[in-house]
Symmetry: C2
Subunit: 205 residues, 2 copies
């Protein structure tokens, strides 16, 4: 068993993920990854494989480090509380100065949208899976009688997934954080009446 690697794989993967997060797939060159990780080309290829494999590993890490904690915010007895926490959690993440602006999934799925190779397919699957996970949460709420009468769980889940991705786009393009806060406040006000809250929308603040 000769010569262990001199770098921490997780730490390097973190830098890889952040580079893809910041610049997208195409604009992330191997040179940029070298600079971000401090590693040389061959070490990267030894550790992760080619660029697509690096991207896949970065997506996996993103799901663990970002996606899963955010989705956990939906695990709350009260749907209105859960949705508010979910939206505000996304807002914090999207604007966190310690991480690149926006969302890796939303950004790269926009970038790679119609591509037919493995990366494009991977991104489409990532998006579809995330949306479907949200649908299941709303269906469970509906089955538990936690949604207001007439609330459609599929509609609400699709709308929430849409809002989340819209926030990601705006967070990446718009330096004005007020717009995002207003969008989240508006979303909470618009969605709450469907989530078991008693107050009619005309009085929603």
């Amino acid at each position: 068993m000769p010569r262990p690697a001199s770098f921490d794989r997780e730490e390097a993967l973190d830098a890889v993920m952040r580079t893809f997060w910041e610049h997208g797939f195409e604009a992330t060159s191997l040179d940029r990854i070298e600079r971000a990780t401090g590693l040389k080309r061959q070490s990267l290829y030894n550790a992760f494989g080619d660029k697509e494999a690096m991207f896949a590993a970065a997506l996996d890490r993103y799901r663990i480090q970002v996606g899963t904690p955010l989705r956990a915010l939906l695990d709350h007895d009260d749907p209105a509380t859960a949705v508010r926490a979910y939206l505000e959690g996304h807002l914090r993440m999207l604007q966190d100065p310690c991480t690149p602006a926006g969302c890796l999934i939303a950004g790269c799925s926009s970038e790679l949208g119609p591509r037919e190779d493995s990366v494009g397919a991977r991104m489409r699957a990532e998006t579809a899976g995330a949306v479907e996970a949200g649908v299941e949460v709303f269906r469970a709420w509906a089955a538990a009688g936690k949604l207001s009468i007439g609330a459609d769980p599929e509609q609400l889940a699709a709308l929430l997934a849409t809002i989340i991705r819209g926030l990601a786009v705006l967070a990446r393009a718009n330096p004005d954080p007020d717009i995002l806060i207003q969008a989240v406040d508006g979303a909470v006000a618009a969605l709450s009446p469907f989530l078991g809250a008693a107050s009619p929308p005309a009085h929603a603040q």
Copy 2:
């Protein structure tokens, strides 16, 4: 006045716009533009300038051909009708098989988000301008007393802009059109109570 150009500038610009629309800024190479327009490199540089100028011209054309007609859907006396038409119009556009999937502005502003050169700045300005235009529409509705009591025009405009961009992301990534339809239906149901509609949200279909 010797030798007129042998091609139609508007027609060529249309192909340029569609190429950027489909592949984004970085992944649109000059070779690809040559193939899409049928023109040679030097003709493109003569007609439009460098790649950034081609992109700027494509954005201008996109605003005229896509953005302006969509924004005109908000010009309606009844806010609820206007918002529904606006959302459904975007849905049609995003999924129109005659044009690339998604939205040029949303896609490229995600792609170029934090870039500090002129293209990045241009995209950020495009997004900020579009959002601000929506805010003015809602403010006018509010001033005309067309919004429900308690409805916040800034919140509603920010939310609508967010939803529009979220739809663009999903339209580009998700081949399932049902999700988008459900999102639009959900958005109409969630927003209508604020737009002067009388029906309470519990009965919104």
